[in-house]
Symmetry: C2
Subunit: 454 residues, 2 copies
């Protein structure tokens, strides 16, 4: 029976640390040999810099080093490669697909990356340079330029033979893409289909011509949506002339989905879109500092608003006790609503032109929640506190108004962000809580001033 | 060129609404015929209940209805099926895989689901009943009991023949699983491999015996991690005796990943783990109400703490102005930290036994951020405000302490939750913000009391 994934990695990390300390190199090499490349990559992530470099250098062949490298965390890669000679790096890159090489090159410091590009074989470096021109998160940026495509005039028998001859370079052949004489994508055939029809048939006779495809500049999130929506294993990527230039396979899509979900979560929590776990403490501070600034500034605005009502508070100090509950409830309803909307936009379940419908529903839900909590707080205060005959009414009404406005803002801002092509997840982070803090303070103290006459 | 997904669905929804209004049934049927089953399912989601039922009934065959049904949103399914006769539902179910049928049955009201189970063919209903015994989010709950497995003594030639004979029932054959005489999983062969070796070879000679597998009770999140970690297209599911009982394919894993990411986001935003977009407004209110209660109660606690310092505030009303900034900054740092940790735990990049290492790093990062903002606020207040000679120092120190504690809590709570097998995403939602509100109020007013002597 298998050990749970986390247990296994933990054991691997401990064992290799122990073997490194004892300098038991043959044992360590043996351990690495028997471990799946993906697990070696994960294990490396939990080792210290020196240990990472040592373990990586003990991997048997450039081929396996390439496998490990393409599974490694981005932050670990420069660390490991900078310890190697440039020639060695080129030998490893030769074993990798060009899209992975292009991704890694963007992580390396400048003199090193261009030196490597110069040393690489012309054919590969050209492919890599082609890929480097695409946006990192576009279909072109994540596609593999090595794919299996056959001419439409080929027969099924010839196709099977071709498939058997091909080296294992394209390890994951899911579909056979069919192209015409100028390389344009005209159809698709599944491996399975190939096995179940007569070998004399032409590919053009059995292919399906309704091929789901994307262009090179398509956003990677859209590619992921297509794969998830249509349950397909690979999406062909074409240029503006419909010429087949690469494929995006389901394993890349899974990485994209994980990445996008992480990005959304971190953006919604105002951590920025950098993956902070990988950064040093100092870089972490630098990444998170500006996001806190929004909350700091809104705090200062709230401070100056409350400052204007100093004499009111001086006369009735209990008022300040309601600040945490009103701001807190407002913030929470706003976060709830915006999380629902942001996720709905990401999964395609909220569509942009439903703006009014969505706003209306969130207004209803937020309004009812606001009414419930507003009434409870208002009545409670009215019953218990004897400070002022209308204090309960003012506190309850404030909570009701703040929560209702927060719900509408929480729904409205992400949609507006999306409309203007900003990431809606960003709206949830600094903008909504900031806006709510200021609006809440304004509403509460103005109502107090108006209705309690103090 | 393709329309963007969202555009396409929007157009489909508008067109079908128009055709329904005009009762242009043949046109509508024609439109549905030409649309991919996945798109029909998505389109149905955006129609009104009556329209959903009408469009679904216009789908040409039970076979295509089955395809659409397995892609539909959970909330839409009962609505559409309750409008049909039980016999019709059984005919549709006959075209679906047993795991999808089992999932749908759990969504239907009781008399209907058992009636359907009775009317279904014995073979299928048995399979479905077997599946219903597994937890919904376990490997057993998401696996497909129809898979392609061959005996280890078969030759490659026989295997290819068998593959060609098989009906298209198992549409996605990625790997050929090899079993021994009592059905235990002993190996795996890729389709590709089968094509590239001599037909006389026995499967046991060419199979890989190192098969990544899971048991039926494994959590679906673990299955998703395996698929993403090892870039595989399907995971075989075995029972406690290593007997092969089903497979989980990559398309199911993609659904699981999307679902789990949504769950995490909604839990972190305190919306609960229900997908609120699907619920009626009333159900939405009911789902969200209890999550706001935590924030309400912590607000009341803060209210009573501040109440104890009424005379202090009465003497220096400006103090209350600092409540929003101190609580807000504390809450934000806490949310930042916990989001990083929760996501790290979900993707396997934070491992449980790193507790102290993670806490230490977050203490450092949080501490530096706290120091920066604490000093800025403290100095600012000291310079501008003439209320009290030590006000700046107290305010700055409070902010520093609150932010540091918030960072540690934000890292600590999710890890503790995970240790005790609760969902760490839950910690971020109500618990952290609640704890921080109370701690912040306590720290600030006690420091004021101690050092300003008012």
């Amino acid at each position: 029976m298998q050990l749970a994934q986390a247990e296994k990695i933990k054991l691997l990390v401990e064992t290799s640390k122990k073997l490194l300390r004892r300098q038991a190199v043959p044992h360590l090499k043996n351990l690495i040999d028997k471990t799946h490349a993906s697990d070696v990559a994960l294990m490396l992530h939990h080792l210290d810099p020196k240990e990472k470099q040592a373990v990586f250098s003990f991997i048997k062949s450039s081929h396996i080093q390439a496998d490990v490298l393409s599974e490694m965390e981005e932050g670990d890669i420069p660390l490991v490669l900078e310890g190697l000679e440039t020639e060695k790096v080129c030998r490893i890159f030769k074993e990798m697909s060009s899209d992975d090489v292009a991704d890694i090159l963007t992580l390396l410091p400048e003199p090193m990356s261009s030196e490597i590009l110069k040393l690489m074989e012309a054919a590969q470096s050209e492919e890599v340079e082609d890929l480097l021109q695409y946006e990192e998160d576009s279909a072109g940026g994540i596609m593999d330029p090595q794919f299996f495509a056959l001419d439409e005039n080929m027969t099924v028998g010839e196709a099977i033979q071709k498939l058997q001859e091909e080296s294992s370079e394209q390890e994951m052949v899911f579909y056979i893409y069919v192209v015409n004489s100028i390389g344009q994508l005209v159809g698709v055939i599944s491996l399975r289909q190939l096995l179940t029809v007569k070998p004399q048939k032409k590919l053009s006779e059995i292919m399906s011509t309704d091929v789901i495809r994307v262009t090179t500049h398509e956003d990677q999130e859209e590619v992921a949506k297509l794969v998830s929506q249509y349950n397909i294993l690979a999406v062909p990527v074409v240029d503006e002339n419909n010429k087949l230039v690469g494929i995006v396979t389901v394993d890349d899509v899974i990485d994209v989905m994980r990445e996008e979900a992480t990005e959304d979560i971190l953006k919604m929590a105002s951590v920025g879109n950098v993956d902070v776990l990988d950064l040093s403490s100092l870089k972490s501070v630098r990444a998170r500092f500006p996001w806190l600034l929004a909350s700091f500034l809104s705090g200062l605005v709230a401070l100056s608003i409350i400052g204007k009502f100093q004499s009111t508070i001086g006369k009735m100090a209990v008022l300040s006790g309601f600040i945490p509950i009103i701001l807190g409830m407002g913030g929470n309803v706003g976060t709830q609503t915006s999380a629902v909307i942001v996720r709905g936009l990401a999964t395609g379940r909220v569509v942009l032109d439903q703006l009014w419908k969505v706003l209306f529903k969130e207004l209803k839900v937020g309004g009812v929640l606001a009414l419930l909590y507003g009434v409870v707080l208002g009545f409670g205060v009215q019953l218990i506190s004897g400070e002022h005959p209308r204090l309960g009414i003012v506190v309850g009404t404030s909570l009701f108004l703040v929560m209702t406005i927060a719900a509408v803002l929480g729904a409205f801002l992400p949609i507006i962000f999306k409309k203007f092509q900003f990431d809606p997840a960003l709206a949830t982070g600094p903008f909504i809580t900031t806006a709510i803090d200021v609006v809440s303070t304004l509403i509460f103290f103005n109502l107090v001033h108006l209705f309690l006459h103090i």
